[in-house]
């Protein structure tokens, strides 16, 4: 994705900034504590959505808590896939394979149907899930390494097809190795975190049996996934601002140029693959725990496309964008499910919900033509010393010309005017 879209210039030659860019500039100029101060209430608000159950937002056909739990899971997947597709620019159509490996790792280690079940012998049911999550992440990351090290020499389209093949192979293995994975019957009674055991919840709050809204298992899984999303975002965000992240951007924009400039492209592509795979494995483990039942049909290629849809729709390369994308693809079908009227207009919600792939397909085609960068596009921005620079830029923009030159970090930089250090619009994907 290397097209360069130029900022439409306004009459006086200053670059035009939309609402989004102005918000971004303002946000980037805030100090870390201020950002957290604004961010935390927002996160708390989102976390409490299933409890508040605002009538406009709540789903009818399925429980809102479990919809949000599903959203949390897909958001994690989208963040992981975004590392591979959005940040490093490697189109991975078999990402569901990693998701499946993560889910199957947990299931194989904790399901009583599996030959490798550990919960009978020494692992207590109480801690089994938590114990398996790091194993799932590690095994998935290793599988990412195994898949990546031979295939990442391929480029673009070929890589996409090979990863597609990988995703199918994983699913077919799960389907065919019946003595280990149970084949089409799947693995039942996968462990989940047993927390908050009480009279009311004999199996803990995360159990699927806890189905009394609003404080049901969906809500607890949603909260758990929010915590995991924040942790993963911090890790990925730090990576993005590090040498690794800069290498990814370079590879994404022009692999040959990056190689010539001394970026070990293969190594960093492999890193993207492994990290993306690890996050996919984490999400798969979350899935296995939440559903407590894994079958191969849940991991077919269509799901890969679904994940890709979240990333492309939200905005490749933008972490918050892909979370929005995940929300849209999970929430919208569920919003229509079971709904018979919308703002007084009678609709057949179930039919609309069953058409979801049709609509996502159309959305992909239309998006690629009119807005290939997605809903919340990624912007090229400075990855080091950015805060100082953005603050200076903002001060300068507020105070008029000359303000930017007082900051030493700016004086040496490529800043020649008040609009210089603002986030550039060009070069996003």
């Amino acid at each position: 994705m290397t097209t360069t879209t130029r900022t439409p210039a306004t009459a006086n030659g200053r670059p035009y900034h939309g609402v989004g860019d102005r918000f971004r500039l303002w946000w980037d100029a805030q100090a870390r504590p201020t950002q957290w101060l604004i961010g935390i209430p927002f996160i708390v608000f989102v976390a409490l959505l299933p409890v508040l159950r605002i009538s406009v937002l709540t789903t009818v056909g399925t429980d809102f808590g479990s919809v949000m739990a599903q959203f949390g899971m897909i958001a994690l997947v989208a963040i992981g896939l975004n590392v591979v597709v959005g940040q490093a620019g490697l189109l991975d159509l078999g990402y569901v394979g990693f998701y499946a490996i993560g889910a199957y790792t947990v299931a194989l280690l904790t399901s009583p149907d599996s030959p490798w079940n550990l919960t009978d012998q020494w692992l207590s049911q109480r801690w089994a899930w938590l114990f398996c999550v790091p194993i799932a992440i590690a095994i998935t990351a290793i599988s990412g390494l195994l898949l990546g090290s031979p295939t990442l020499r391929l480029r673009g389209d070929y890589l996409a097809i090979v990863t597609l093949g990988f995703g199918e192979i994983v699913r077919l293995l799960a389907d065919n190795l019946t003595t280990i994975t149970g084949g089409g019957q799947g693995l039942k009674k996968v462990a989940y975190p047993r927390v908050g055991v009480s009279e009311q919840h004999p199996d803990g709050v995360f159990s699927a049996g806890n189905s009394n809204p609003p404080w049901n298992s969906g809500l607890w899984w949603f909260w758990l996934s929010i915590v995991l999303i924040i942790v993963v975002l911090l890790v990925v965000g730090n990576l993005e601002r590090s040498r690794v992240g800069r290498a990814w951007v370079a590879i994404r924009e022009d692999e040959d140029a990056a190689e010539i400039m001394g970026v070990p492209t293969f190594k960093f592509k492999l890193w993207a693959f492994v990290i993306g795979a690890g996050i996919g494995g984490l999400s798969g483990a979350l899935y296995a725990g939440q559903v407590q039942f894994v079958v191969p049909t849940n991991f077919n290629v269509v799901n890969s496309m679904f994940f890709l849809c979240a990333v492309v729709l939200g905005g490749q390369g933008n972490k918050l964008g892909v979370i929005l994308g995940a929300f849209v693809i999970v929430y919208l079908p569920n919003f229509f499910l079971g709904r018979t009227d919308l703002f007084g207009i009678p609709i057949d919600g179930d039919t609309i919900a069953s058409y979801k792939y049709l609509f996502f397909g159309l959305a992909l085609i239309v998006l690629m033509i009119f807005r290939p960068q997605g809903l919340l596009p990624a912007r090229q921005k400075l990855l080091a010393y950015s805060r100082q620079l953005y603050q200076a830029a903002r001060r300068a923009a507020l105070a008029g010309d000359g303000g930017a030159r007082r900051t030493p970090a700016v004086a040496d930089g490529p800043v020649d005017g008040p609009e210089g250090p603002e986030p550039k619009e060009g070069g996003e994907r």
Partner: protein, 352 residues
């Protein structure tokens, strides 16, 4: 993919395999039924080859993997089915016996129907989805994502919308009830392998079509245009070749062959007509195209036949349920060790 399972050869072996369900390594089975596997493999391979031509032509001209080509094939299956329906055939348990001449004629009409539907769909897809992207100079990954979107749209169209439009006669969640015009009977045996009339029809039809396309691309004015654009789009445009027309022609050609392949496939597997029926076949055909050298017409033919045969050998060796795995592993291995395929990428190589 149960529709693709080999009917008789491996039936007994399959039951024992399903019982234990781990990978076994049955060389006896491979050697004992080697020739019948080869015959069946060539039949499937011929179908893969015809679909693969569509991938190869589009890739040669546009450097684009037309991911939605499998759905074009799927539409072709429905197209030929609808034509048979329009001719007055209805799905029923037994096989129609119309006599050889009439059957051949009906099949030809059905094939043309499938070709028209597939060709039209391919050109329409190019118009609606790809042309706007080319105008905008979009990068290749954008094309691929669009193709995935188009693939979704076509599948779901047949899944949900088509039954509404046709009063539930076509499309929907389940496979179409088969309309069978030809009873599969053994015509002769080679090295103890039965060769059925369907096998002969499929392989001969595929070879004839492949030959015609090869002549078309290598010996006509239109074909020269295709090769010119594949070789160097800018120079070709300067020399007066209309790139847009060549691209349209390429999609049309690929679509026509997919439609023909759809008819042949339905002859072999009468109950494979379902909205999701093109997907796996499409990936295999793509694997075949890559195996032979994507962008290379003869490569597509060679790759298709090879993949069909290898798949069945693998199936005999490891068990029926590993057939798709064999195809994917072949694809991955080819891409890893020889990404340009056996014959290399050469649609653009000038010879005329």
């Amino acid at each position: 993919m149960s529709a693709l399972l080999l009917p008789d050869v491996l039936a007994s072996a399959h039951t024992t395999l399903a019982a234990d369900g781990v990978i076994d390594f049955n060389t006896d089975r491979l050697f004992s039924s080697f020739w019948s596997l080869t015959v069946d493999g060539l039949t499937y391979g011929a179908i893969y080859a015809l679909i693969a031509v569509g991938y190869t032509l589009v890739y040669g001209v546009l450097r684009l993997i037309n991911f939605a080509h499998s759905e074009i094939f799927m539409l072709g299956m429905f197209g030929q089915y609808a034509v048979l329906w329009a001719l007055g055939f209805v799905p029923r348990g037994d096989v129609y016996s119309e006599g050889t001449a009439l059957t051949v004629m009906y099949l030809l009409i059905a094939m043309i129907g499938g070709m028209v539907v597939s060709g039209g769909a391919a050109v329409g897809l190019e118009r609606v989805a790809y042309r706007p992207l080319r105008r905008r100079g979009a990068p290749s990954l954008t094309f691929l994502i669009t193709a995935i979107g188009a693939s979704f749209v076509l599948q779901e169209f047949v899944h949900f919308v088509l039954p509404k439009l046709t009063g539930g006669n076509f499309g929907g969640t389940t496979a179409q009830q088969p309309i069978r015009l030809v009873q599969e009977t053994t015509v002769f045996t080679v090295f103890g392998a039965d060769v059925s009339n369907v096998d002969i029809v499929v392989v001969v039809a595929a070879l004839v079509l492949a030959f015609l396309v090869d002549r078309f691309v290598n010996a006509t004015k239109f074909g020269r245009g295709i090769r010119a654009v594949a070789q160097d789009p800018v120079t070709a445009t300067l020399m007066g070749v209309s790139r847009e027309r060549v691209i349209m022609l390429t999609f049309l050609l690929g679509g026509l062959l997919a439609g023909a392949a759809a008819m042949l496939y339905c002859l072999k597997i009468p109950n494979g007509i379902i909205y999701s029926g093109g997907f796996i076949l499409g990936i295999k055909a793509f694997a075949a195209a890559v195996l032979g050298g994507i962008g290379n017409l003869r490569g597509a033919l060679l790759g298709g036949l090879l993949l069909g045969v290898m798949e069945l050998y693998g199936q005999a060796l490891f068990g029926t349920e590993w057939r798709d795995v064999v195809a994917f592993v072949v694809l991955v291995l080819v891409l890893l060790f020889r990404p340009t395929g056996i014959l290399g990428e050469s649609l653009g190589r000038a010879r005329a």
